[in-house]
């Protein structure tokens, strides 16, 4: 009959524990220095500080487990069950992070598109805030025909325009006023060559929100409003091109599938 194993006197001594404590403190100080702006190391390290910090912490982690928790001197069974849990937690954590960051592609752009910069209390920095309703005008040749005012609106949260067709005479000065009465969604209105709405939207996604989700210098784009925040409105004025069917679309990522219409120039 196996009785409890007497606790073996296989301990580090007081001095050794002090040394271990000092090592732990030292590593923490090194970690702090690595990220401290005044030490300037952080400027040289860049992104490589991340694996370094993780490695240093892993060392601290292991030291506490091995020595303070006595695992180095204890029967292997204890370490096995604990390490099994630890490894599993680590793997599951990595898998979850990978599933969110690695494979979802565009679906993680919501925050990027909608985040509002933070302003400290009492700070006087001119916060970028939300984009005002900016008008972008592209005056080209003076209007041959009288000006045309069109109004298009987004419909609630449905990711659609309230009309699927607008028209104007070729050569006229067209002003499209775009209203965004939705509560949660930013939109824009981009007039493009026929059949190019999806391609323009795809390129616009790469261009990012600072470019109002339109690739700068995209030749397929005839005119576009700025990115309009919920509740806002904006307009764009341009000259109606040669007769034909064009399209207008919202190029906010993902909206181009349902939020588009025809722009008929006759």
């Amino acid at each position: 009959m196996a009785h409890e194993i007497e606790h073996t006197a296989n301990h580090p001594t007081f001095k050794q524990y002090v040394v271990i404590a000092i090592i732990l403190f030292a590593i923490t100080i090194v970690e702090f220095v690595l990220i401290w702006e005044r030490a300037y190391i952080v400027d040289y390290l860049g992104a490589s500080k991340v694996p370094l910090l993780i490695a240093l912490s892993a060392v601290k982690f292991a030291i506490v487990i091995m020595y303070y928790m006595h695992l180095k001197f204890d029967p292997r069974f204890f370490g096995t069950v604990f390490i099994a849990g630890l490894v599993l937690a680590f793997l599951v954590g990595i898998a979850l992070i990978g599933l969110f960051v690695g494979f979802e592609g565009n679906q993680r752009t919501y925050a990027k598109a909608n985040a509002i910069p933070y302003v400290h209390h009492g700070a006087e920095e001119s916060a970028e805030g939300e984009h005002g309703a900016s008008s972008e005008t592209k005056h080209e040749t003076p209007a041959v025909v009288g000006p045309v005012a069109l109004v298009v609106s987004a419909v609630g949260e449905t990711l659609t325009f309230d009309t699927n067709s607008v028209s104007a005479k070729s050569g006229s000065e067209v002003t499209i006023t775009f209203d965004n009465p939705s509560a949660n969604n930013q939109h824009n209105l981009v007039v493009v060559q026929a059949g190019t709405k999806d391609a323009v939207a795809t390129d616009g996604t790469t261009a990012g929100p600072t470019n109002d989700w339109v690739s700068p210098g995209d030749e397929r784009v005839i005119a576009n409003t700025a990115l309009i925040n919920p509740g806002g409105s904006g307009d764009v004025t341009f000259t109606a091109p040669s007769p034909g069917t064009y399209q207008f679309v919202c190029t906010f990522p993902g909206h181009n599938f349902t939020m588009f219409g025809d722009f008929i120039v006759d």
Binding site: M1, A2, F77, V81, A84, G85, L88, L91, V92, L96, L99, F100, G102, F103, E104, G105, Q107, Y110, A111, N114, N184
Partner: protein, 612 residues
């Protein structure tokens, strides 16, 4: 806290109701788990009945959609957490110490605590019926349907808090069984001589302690979203409902192995006994159980194939899911190898065990078809999945639990369940089960979605649904026969300590066992210990005719009963209940739990005037 333990001495008597309330005896705790789980089974069965009644005809308006949602949510939640799991734990409690030659589990009071917390957690869940705010978002409660704007009443809070409470019970119990199995095996019982049921219990317990914390975090985050203003799963604020799904299924997939491994273990004990030959391929069965336990962590997103994780994730999980079918297949072949050329005795337990193999294969085959993510795109959220679930959980777990009940009933009670009634029980269950769930494969592939309270007659699903509902009636009859069988054992005659001529250590002692189980801790001779003992005795000319001799119970020190597990459990339950009513109650519950813990830690092993 000596003051408390001085004023309220530790109880010593096993007698009467108070004896049951303060029990720390694994055999009694097992019976308590079994009876409580059976009551919940009746509730969940009634919920299933309502579902089948509603679906029996097209465009039925027996119950409305809201009530229907409550029915399928509570049916599944109850069956998973309050029926199958505690029934498994009931068997762990009754069988494991006996099977390893121990006198009790490693932590008897913790064992009792687990039971009481389970009971209170289950009651808390069903309080939702009393206040008519019943959870109705499915047993998996996908966000963000479960968020406050869409699930306004407190049903989901009942669901989350009750599961949190019951989770502590499961983890405490699992910790107990891990230490028991590793550390209380009789001399001579090496790991590779342990009965397979003991192995499966060990693996299940490891899965429990590792998986429950993940859903605990999910439930905490859901509760915080609903009650404390966070936005973990609210898309408009940047949260991601998919995170809930991941957290749930990282728990949920090991959970289904938690539900099936004990069942497989039970069947693995029963087949050799009634084939009159040792288990075929013991190491393979053990190792495939271990492999299932490990690989079960790598497959969870097969529940999320249609969520839009992308082709890479779907492919990875398709491959891992297809791979996990392999160890199960290994077990099946080894079971067949056990039966091969055996001299089969068709007792009720054996018939249920054989049915388990057949029905689990059917469930496993549909499971493999789900593993292929493109085909799962058609199957997901249809009755094809419902068919799979019920073949593996009813045809698998429940049928195996029936088998285990018929097998071990004589050990715990000293009486046998009637074999004729048992056969009737078996056929009603077997026929009813297939009648109900086999048609679901067809209506499912035909497009019938899950969780719809009714369907148009134009779809042509009505006949299959009628069949399924008739099958329910057949199954219900089977359960009634079982209950009558239990009832009539009051008057049946006693049986011997070893009615089946079985190989396990538990059969060496009397039925029911004495409180201390083994007068002398046995020296284990091999895998089929009792067969070896009986053979040796025959060969020596002194065949075994009776159980191991009993001794005066007071000569063996057993842990005394204790109030503190119940007391502490009340504290834990109040913490949960308080979160659902008045926070002050939670505070009181916390104090009670702490007082209980301290008193528990300080009470003496037994009262000075110890007597049994």
């Amino acid at each position: 806290m000596a003051a408390i333990t001085g004023v309220i001495p530790r109880p010593t008597s096993y007698a009467g109701l108070w004896g049951w309330i303060t029990t720390v005896d694994h055999k009694r705790i097992g019976v308590l788990y079994g009876l409580t789980a059976f009551i919940f089974l009746i509730f969940a069965g009634i919920e299933a009945g309502v579902i089948r009644l509603q679906l029996a005809s097209a465009e039925s308006d027996l119950i409305g959609p809201g009530r229907y949602n409550e029915m399928f949510t509570m049916h599944a939640t109850t069956m998973v957490f309050m029926v199958i799991m505690p029934l498994s734990v009931s068997f762990f409690n009754i069988v494991i110490p006996l099977a390893i030659g121990a006198r009790d589990v490693a932590f008897p009071r913790l064992n009792a605590l687990s039971y009481w917390i389970f009971l209170f957690g289950g009651v808390l869940m069903h309080m939702s019926f009393v206040v008519d705010q019943v959870p109705d978002a499915g047993w998996f409660s996908y966000a963000n349907l479960t968020e406050k704007p869409f699930s306004v009443d407190r049903g989901l809070d009942y669901w989350a808090i009750s599961l949190l409470v019951m989770g502590t019970s499961s983890v405490a119990g699992a910790l107990n069984f891990i230490v028991t199995i590793i550390n209380l095996r009789a001399p001579g019982m090496t790991m590779m001589r342990m009965p397979v049921f003991v192995w499966m219990t060990l693996i299940t317990s490891l899965l429990l302690v590792l998986a429950f914390p993940v859903i605990t975090v999910g439930l905490i985050e859901l509760t915080m979203d609903r009650n404390f203003g966070t936005h973990f799963f609210i898309p408009a604020e940047g949260g991601d409902p998919i995170l809930w799904q991941h957290l749930f299924w990282v728990f949920g997939h090991p959970e289904v192995y938690i539900l099936i491994l004990p069942a497989m273990g039970m069947v693995t004990e029963i087949l050799p006994t009634f084939s009159r030959k040792p288990l075929f391929g013991y190491p393979f069965i053990v190792f495939s159980g271990i492999v299932i336990g490990i690989m079960g962590w790598a497959v969870w997103s097969h529940h999320m194939f249609t969520v839009g994780l992308g082709p890479v994730a779907n492919s990875v999980f398709t491959i891992t899911t297809m791979l996990i079918a392999v160890p199960t297949g290994v077990k099946i072949f080894n079971w067949i190898g056990t039966l091969w050329k055996g001299s089969i005795e068709f007792t009720t337990a054996m018939m249920f065990a054989l049915a388990f193999i057949a029905l689990f294969i059917v469930g496993g085959l549909s499971g493999v078809s789900h593993a292929v993510s493109p085909s799962d795109f058609q199957q997901q959220d249809t009755y094809y999945i419902v068919a799979h679930i019920h073949y593996v959980l009813f045809g698998g777990s429940i049928v195996a639990i029936f088998a285990g009940t018929y097998y071990w009933f004589p050990k715990i009670t000293g009486k046998m369940l009637d074999e004729t009634l048992g056969k009737l029980n078996f056929w009603l269950i077997f026929i009813g089960m297939n009648l109900t769930f086999f048609p679901m494969h067809f209506v499912g592939l035909n497009g019938m979605p899950r969780r719809i309270y009714t369907y148009s007659s134009e779809f042509g699903w009505e006949h299959m649904n009628q069949l399924a509902s008739i099958g329910y009636i057949v199954m219900a009859l089977g359960f009634l026969v079982f209950m009558y069988n239990l009832w009539q054992t009051r008057n049946s005659r006693r049986v011997s300590h070893d009615p089946w001529d079985a190989p396990g250590v538990e059969w060496t002692i009397s039925s029911p066992p004495p409180p201390y189980n083994f007068a002398e801790i046995p020296q284990i001779l091999g895998r089929d210990h009792y067969w070896i003992v009986k053979e040796n005795a025959e060969a020596a000319g002194t065949p075994i005719t009776g159980p191991e001799a009993q001794v005066d119970p007071s000569s063996i020190h057993m842990p005394s009963p204790s109030y503190w597990p119940l007391f502490t459990a009340i504290g834990v339950a109040l913490i949960g209940g308080g979160l659902l009513s008045h926070y002050a109650l939670s505070f009181v519950g916390g104090i009670i739990a702490m007082v209980g813990t301290v008193a528990w830690a300080n009470e003496p092993p037994s009262a000075p005037s110890d007597h049994h």
